[in-house]
Structure formats: C-alpha cells, structure tokens
Symmetry: C2
Subunit: 171 residues, 2 copies
C-alpha cells in the first residue's frame, strides 16, 4: 500500500491517515493549534528541515486543512491558518494529548494543562456517544459496513466481520 492509494481506501481512518498520519504533520498541527502561523515559527520551534516543512505545508493546504494567506505584499509573505476542516481536527489532537497525559508522563507531571473557558475548570477530554451521551469504549461499539464499504472484488475488505478472503497474491 502506497501513500497515494491510502487516500482512496474505503476506510475513513486510512483516508485521514493519508492527510495527517505522519509525525511532522501532527507536530505542525500542534503548533497551529497553539497559534503558530508562519514558516519560520514552525521551523524553529519544531526543528523540522525547511524542505520537509515546505512539503508538509503544501500537503496540508492541498487537503484543505490549512489556508495559505498573504499577510504582506512588499516581499510577498504568507501565513498558514487552520480552515474549519483543520479546526475539526481538534478532537484528534486533544485525544492524542490526553493519551500522552495518562500514559506517557514522567514524574514531573503533565507538560500542559487545559482550561475550559465555558465552565472555567481544568478538564480532560472525554469521548461520548452522540445519542446517549455515555462515554465510549471499544467493547461497547458494534461495527457495520456502511454504504461506502468496499463491495468490488473480494480483495481485503476492512469491515468488522471480514471473512478469510484475500491473499493479495492472487490479484
């Protein structure tokens, strides 16, 4: 499986991974959510090579996660800001941070705390069911193929109840 085919897989996880599933993209997005917007700012705080940074920014813009906006004209200069599509990545970012908070902290404690402006409290993110509001666990969820599920050749589907099918050796 190559990077460009990933994006076309009948799997929402694979498609999202095609956009943000590499270390640098996620770190760049962290900076974006911390209000960083400029090439130099990303580069110096991440230590990413300029070459890769340019490439990743282009990719994020191409996928509509960031928008490239001129902020001065003399020498044309641009900054990168999150689109709504990009802002919608917030639950992903927060759940990644939360897992790190719970499972990867050292003795000194959390590097960062989050305060909810609405209620004023320090909080953790919790993922709940849109219908009943209960916290979600893997075991409490049943997976069904949706309308966009693969139904072409019998080659590897990724639905929950995949039979034994596939063995991509046969085409």
């Amino acid at each position: 499986m190559k990077w460009d085919t990933l994006e076309e897989e009948p799997c929402s996880l694979a498609r999202t991974v095609a956009v943000i599933g590499d270390r640098w993209s996620l770190l760049i997005l962290r900076e974006c959510f911390l209000r960083k917007r400029r090439f130099e700012a990303f580069q110096s705080s991440l230590g990413i090579t300029r070459h890769l940074l340019a490439e990743r920014l282009k990719k994020l813009v191409r996928f509509g996660v960031l928008r490239r906006i001129p902020y001065q004209d003399s020498p044309k200069r641009y900054e990168y800001i999150l689109t709504q599509k990009g802002l919608d990545l917030y639950p992903i970012i927060m759940s990644i941070v939360h897992w790190g908070n719970v499972h990867m902290v050292d003795s000194r404690g959390r590097p960062m705390l989050h305060q909810h402006k609405n209620c004023g409290h320090m909080f953790d993110p919790v993922m709940v069911c849109s219908e009943c509001g209960e916290p979600l666990t893997a075991k409490a969820v049943h997976v069904h193929p949706g309308p966009g599920a693969r139904q072409t050749s019998p080659v590897h589907a990724m639905a929950a109840d995949e039979p034994k099918a596939k063995a991509k050796t046969g085409t």
Copy 2:
C-alpha cells in the same frame, strides 16, 4: 528532531506521536480494534511488508500498547492483543475515523457505521469537557504550562506564547 528524542519531549502530543505517529502503526491499530490479532492477518489485510510489520509490532509491544501472547506451542505461535493502554487509544482511533467520515467521504457515503451497544443507536463520537459535559472546541480552551513543562531557559513551555527561543542558528 529525531524519533527517539520525540519520546522525551515535554509534550504529551509528541510523546504519543512517538508511539503511534506513523501510518503503519495507526493502520495496525485499526486492525487490532477490528479484532485482528495475528501476524499473517495484519500482513495480508494491510499489504505492509513483513519486515516493517515485525518492527512495528515490536515497537507497539515495547511501548505496552500490545501484548504478545502464545496461542500454541508446537511451533511457538504468538498473537498480539491490545493492553488496557492500547484500548485507551480508542478515542484517538475513533476521532480519526470520525474526521474521515465528515471530511473524506466520497459520494457513496461512509465505509463503516458504528452502533452503541449501550443505547442501541448508530452514533458519532463527540468530545466533551470532563467537568461540564459541553462539546469542546479549540477556541474554548485555554492552555497553561503544567508541572512537567520545560523549564530550562526562561519560561517558554510550548504554551501559546512561545517567543523565538532556541533558534538553532546562532549564539
């Protein structure tokens, strides 16, 4: 920044990315949450090279996300199952899937639907505040340095207002 230093950054996102921040790890985890457990099963449904699969599985075991358990003795055979630490990745996986459902679907619709066993409904995951229960958005969250924040030079944690510090280019 190298992969191994990433794990030691004073940032929960970076530390988590050190564990699961590459395309194959995330796809392997998808399979784990879909009840796949064996080397051959991962390999044939993902099309990952055997070499990389072996390496990624080792890494996930090393970080305590998967446990390697023998399921027969004659020729020793092992399978990989999620630990509690691994199961705790569920919100990350689900929010990735959800973003793909919202922003990366084609005309055919979602590849997969999720049903909550507790309430019986098809649902979407929603991330809420642990304190007030309201849905979270990036703009409604204020970030503070925590006890584990970087404290070497002047305060700059990777909080919202990092100056330019650490310009690796000089002085």
